[in-house]
Amino acid sequence: MSGRPAIVIPMNGTAIAATGLRKAYKDKIVLDGVDLRVQAGTIFALLGPNGAGKTTTVNVLTTLLRPDAGQVLVAGHDVTTQTRAVRAAIGVTGQFASVDDLLTGEENLLMMADLLHLPKAEGRRITRRLLGRFDLAEAAGKPASSYSGGMRRKLDLAMTLVGGPQIIFLDEPTTGLDPRSRRTMWEIIRELVADGTTIFLTTQYLEEADQLADRIAVLDRGRLVAEGTAAQLKRRVPGGHVRLRFADRRALDTAARVLAGSATDEEELTLRVPGDGGVRSLRALLDRLDSHAVEAEELSVHTPDLDDVFLALTGHTDKEIKA
């Protein structure tokens, strides 16, 4: 990304390792024994509702907050005793775009280069390249206050990248963005990890974690309630099924007879058939209906999504906590 030499991460390819992380404010426990391990060069998503402790976790991992207990190694350095070495290896984009509104996009980036004590020419070179890469070249000379939400987030991330960090922390990088800007941000994040960067992101969007992350940890009230790939998490939840809707009661009854294990909804004239919704099993299902001369009006496949996972793991939905 920049001209800085890449920092070689020891710890056998582990970029972030945290054990027994605890943090409390007065008598309110925010983190209650969190263990994390993030492989270098991967995207790790910390998923949880508002107030689960996501930002506190990021603040501890990025040296901004001292944990009450537990050990954290980031890029092989202890966050409490080797603050400087950790800071040299990481970049952080906070929950709110912390760009300077009165400066232009270009001036914001040049200011970062100056604070990193990069030579002037190199600072200008990196700035030009980041502006181009994030589609901000045209707006480079305009004050950041005139930028849209998506542009501000991009500038914010570009500012984080000036120093060429090895590990990037993104605290809710797409909260408040419109769907299109969110997709752009996802593409940028995927490109970063393709360059070999490690990404630690927090999100309250299940879809975002599903789309981006190699591994997902679910944080709920200061505790990790699950950790794994999106597929592993989904497997912990039953509920994949195919839904068939029929034109009349007669067709529904016939279908219910031939398809074992199905459940009927007589009012809606629908049939719920357990299954993973794969092409092969779908074909078999339709063939079977065909051979009994039953035709379905409508067919839809339901795979369990992370919302189901969240509900199954925590016993409450995201919305309940927010309320």
Partner: protein, 253 residues
């Protein structure tokens, strides 16, 4: 780069930023100048003729107006510091290992430069309104010294307040007591002419001794006791502001 030279470089970078802020938000400077000018017209031209203070009223009121200029111009500092804190800008700098000294120094120096420009304008206007100081070169240096010390004291206190405040709007509130305090001092009428209670308050509050010290220098008759009290007040306030600001900078985030 050693720690000290890194702090110097970073202070310069941050100061450049604050300087751009002032240029692009000229309203902040305008506010600092326009109210004291209105006040000057009001006090010197309209009300002043009725006050009997023993000397020409323009000469009497100018030191107080210099103080109100500092106070009217201070809110932007509190708001700027607080926005840096609440938008996560300071966290960004902390993760980049930029020293807090660089961030805070830049705000102090920026405030100082803005105040001095505003004060220069105000003094220019008071000359037009009949201000005739009888200060020698050394007296002028003493007057400038008092002004610089006052800006440092109020500046550090404001920065601390801005860091500790919950939102930019509440940070800006520090301007309110600061704008009122000079009126409850000997800025516009001598304390001994005030009613009971107000008189005692005016006699002992910091602005009175600071204004008396400044007035002493500008009229060419410096008062050692006022100067010593003024310096003590400024040094004390500065120390409180500085310690408070450092603590808030580290704690928040």
């Amino acid at each position: 780069m050693t720690g000290f030279s890194a702090t110097l470089t970073d202070s310069a970078t941050m100061l450049r930023r604050n300087f751009r802020h002032t240029l692009r938000n000229p309203l902040a400077l305008f506010n600092a100048v326009i109210m004291p000018i209105v006040l000057m017209f009001l006090m010197v031209h309209i009300l002043g003729g009725a006050f009997s203070v023993g000397v020409d009223y323009a000469d009497y009121a100018t030191p107080g107006l210099i103080m109100t200029t500092i106070c009217y111009g201070i809110s932007p500092t509190a708001i700027a510091v607080n926005s840096d804190m609440t938008t996560g800008f300071i966290n960004r700098l902390r993760v980049m290992h930029v020293s807090r000294a660089a961030v805070l120094n830049a705000h102090v120096i920026g405030t100082m430069l803005r105040s001095l420009v505003a004060i220069a304008l105000i003094v220019g206007v008071s000359f037009l309104m009949g201000f005739r100081p009888s200060a020698s070169f050394l007296h002028w240096l003493g007057a400038i010294g008092i002004v610089v010390l006052t800006v440092l004291a109020i500046g550090w206190l404001t920065i601390a307040f801005g860091l500790a405040a919950k939102s930019p709007a509440s940070a800006g509130l520090i301007g309110v007591p600061l704008m009122l305090l000079p009126f409850l001092s000997s800025a516009f009428v001598p304390a001994e002419k005030m009613g009971a209670g107000a008189r005692q308050f005016a006699e002992y509050q910091p602005f009175t001794s600071i204004i008396e010290a400044l007035r002493g220098f500008l009229t060419g008759a410096p008062s050692a006791s006022s100067a010593v009290t003024a310096i003590a007040w400024c040094a004390g306030t500065m120390l409180v502001g500085y310690v408070w600001a450092r603590a808030s900078f580290t704690k928040r985030g």
